[in-house]
Symmetry: C2
DNA sequence: CACACTTTTTTCGAGGCTCGAAAAAAGTCT
DNA sequence: AGACTTTTTTCGAGCCTCGAAAAAAGTGTG
């Protein structure tokens, strides 16, 4: 904010812009990049020849036989050899890791099943260390430098994306994964919230629909949210924030997994739907885990006949609707993507949800609220993590030029505005 | 985001930074500005001599007899003669206007009482036009150019700050004040939400406490909010947003002024407190206006003895507490300033508010939540509008240099990032 | 097959901006 | 009066972007 801009900042920004245009556009020519960025052809030419010389970009000859007259455009693409990234995804009873090249191609991967809730703190950390070490030692990297690691966790992280503060998958709290992994491997690490990564993925999948303002809601055992506002990921002042599932739906209402009462999740999470469908008291302790098939059976029962199952999904829809209504009172409506297991039951949840929104301040503009379901949560998470890792390399490492790469001080350097 | 940075953008940014440092610091020397901005002495020297030549800054000799050795610092200050700004404030039954010089000194002002709820649309607009015309013709301006007009309204504005979309003070909606006033006076205008201006003022009053993240809550006939997150004013995707008062406290609960049910305002606005204190049904139509003295009497009664008045304030506190709890679930805690008439009754509201927050996700970090009361809402609004208008001139007009001032196209030009 | 035409990309000199170093300025201290 | 200290200005160097012109690499046509 109050920091002045020097000459090399300008170059850094413009380099970043060329890299970003290449990652977005895929095969963009220099002329196209000049048009997108508004910079002159000479500038783009200079920057891209630098980037090619540094091994960050490569020229690609388009297959399409240029049907136009004139000198054919030369496509620019990210050089897959330029770097690698590794993403780790830690969720309930599951840890997986993926290696990617700089162009985003999968190099290799590994999944492990582990009992995250029972694992001691040290062993949980060790599992992450080990799976990461196996990636770094894997021959598929073929000497390329891993320049970035992203760890996505189901749970709350701190605003600096360095620690996992709290998670439903383990009793342990405040695990400084970024510090631990950086100390061991000397590669920059961030710890991200899984829902934020899903939102990130939506942006890359469908930039038309999910661009400046949108909402991703994870409907699963718990309720999560990733929120993009004015083009950037929304986070809390101290944590990854946006604990939509723990907004209050009914003061002093149903018992939530978090121990408090009346949270949206206590009506709309899998455990809450199950609890209501089974006719249990809403003050009953939530079940720890529910099989995917069990939820699908509930949904099928709800579709087949009117009864407690149908009512349970309706209650979930109502809670989500009132919650969204309150959210929309704050941020106005935006496109919503429903992600995760229970998004497949949106036919059961949707009607009550719409009805509830209509009774809130959000109902004002119920026309401009659109819903979309993306049941494949895992694929979305993987994509989001991958793009997060790669764009970090784009912005913070390659945009700075070769010099900055050598100084280890740049490990935590701040992002270009 | 995708737009490249050219050479003059750099100068513009650095000019803006020097002006901002001067407005903040008051009497800052060139050396101090260099230290703040991180730019070299030579650059600051060049920029400030430009700004002085353009009549934007002036050198001020400090009164303090420099107790240090060495060449004394020369203070830089904004030249009051450089420009003028006019602010209009439209609220229930009241319209006021203020003229300011570029340094923020009051030149002259006017207040009018009018029956905003009964006024036809045309006349309401006319009143604003007229009070503004009288300012522009007033001799106090002494030939200085009015470069900016800010109109703050009690109500919702659009995200571009050009129209008043809805307001409790008039039945008329979607009044494009900015277009109307610009067409008539050819001076750039924005229409702002009053609570946002109060938040803006807090920032200037106490930058230590209210800097990057904080909340201003207006406790008055209705409930309003101004929210600053990560250093910038938070607005909705389509409107000025942050309709905190219309988040849902109890689904299908008490009747709100907005016609819906269960809004926070329907428990915590003056009319709701009055309704509860008087023992009326919560579905009863809200009273239109309540005298300040009447609310003070209620508060006094609540302090004197336990009874329906005390209970009414407690209910208000509970609604605000659950609402804040939900808000904190999204954005994490931040310092809160309670503004307006009922902030003076915070002794009655506070206990129930804290208790409610403790029962929500916000209760997690109840240690880091601090409250502060600022009963003088009018003064805060005036300050906020003034600073909004002046900083617009700083950034969008003077930072661009003399050339840009002449092109009328710059009227709506976008803000420097 | 040579030559005109079109479009993309590179080259080159000009102009702006910031920087560091040195000089100038404007005081205090002895 | 002269030494000393600190602030501010001056000046040349080094980048960066820009526009114009040149070069490159195709297609279309006789």
């Amino acid at each position: 904010m109050t920091v002045g801009m020097r000459h090399d900042d300008l170059r850094r920004r413009n380099r970043a812009m060329v890299i970003a245009a290449t990652r977005r556009g895929g095969q963009a020519s220099r002329t196209e990049i000049a048009a997108i960025t508004g910079l002159s052809h000479s500038t783009i030419s200079a920057i891209s020849s630098d980037l090619i010389a540094e091994g960050i970009l490569t020229e690609t000859r388009q297959e399409a036989p240029a049907l136009k007259r004139g000198r054919p455009q030369i496509g620019l693409a990210l050089d897959p050899q330029a770097a690698c990234a590794v993403t780790l995804m830690l969720s309930l009873n599951s840890l997986s890791a993926v290696s990617l090249d700089y162009a985003g191609n999968l190099l290799e991967e590994e999944h492990r099943r582990l009992d995250t809730r029972a694992l001691p703190r040290g062993e949980l950390i060790c599992e992450c260390m080990d799976i990461l070490r196996r990636r770094l030692e894997h021959p598929a990297h073929a000497g390329r430098h891993v320049l970035r690691i992203v760890l996505a966790v189901q749970g709350i992280t701190d605003a600096e994306a360095r620690s996992m503060l709290w998670s439903p998958i383990t009793p342990h709290t405040d695990i400084p994964f970024a510090d631990l992994l950086e100390a061991r491997f000397s590669i920059p690490v961030t710890v991200e919230n899984d829902c934020n990564m899903m939102a990130e993925a939506l942006r890359w999948r469908d930039p038309e629909r999910y661009r400046d303002d949108f909402i991703a809601i994870l409907l699963s055992h718990g309720i999560g949210m990733g929120l993009v506002l004015k083009g950037s990921m929304f986070t809390g002042t101290h944590s990854s924030g946006v604990e939509f599932g723990h907004m209050v739906h009914r003061p002093d209402g149903a018992l939530c997994r978090c121990g408090r009462r009346g949270c949206i999740e206590a009506y709309a999470g899998s455990y809450a739907i199950w609890r209501n469908a089974a006719g249990h008291d809403e003050n009953e302790e939530p079940r720890g885990d529910i099989e995917e098939t069990e939820m699908q059976a509930l949904a099928q029962a709800a579709r087949d006949h009117d009864g407690p199952e149908r009512r349970a999904f309706r209650i979930a829809g109502e809670a989500l609707g009132f919650g969204l209504g309150s959210l929309f009172a704050l941020i106005d409506p935006a496109p919503v993507a429903m992600v995760g297991l229970n998004a497949a039951a949106f036919d059961l949840i949707g009607p009550a949800l719409h009805e509830a929104i209509a009774r809130t301040a959000g109902g004002h503009h119920s026309g401009s609220i659109t819903f979309d379901t993306q049941p494949d949560q895992v694929a979305l998470l993987r994509e989001g993590c991958a793009m997060r890792a790669l764009t970090f390399i784009d912005h913070r490492i390659f945009a700075a030029g070769r010099a900055a790469q050598d100084e280890p001080a740049s490990l935590h350097s701040s992002l270009i505005a």
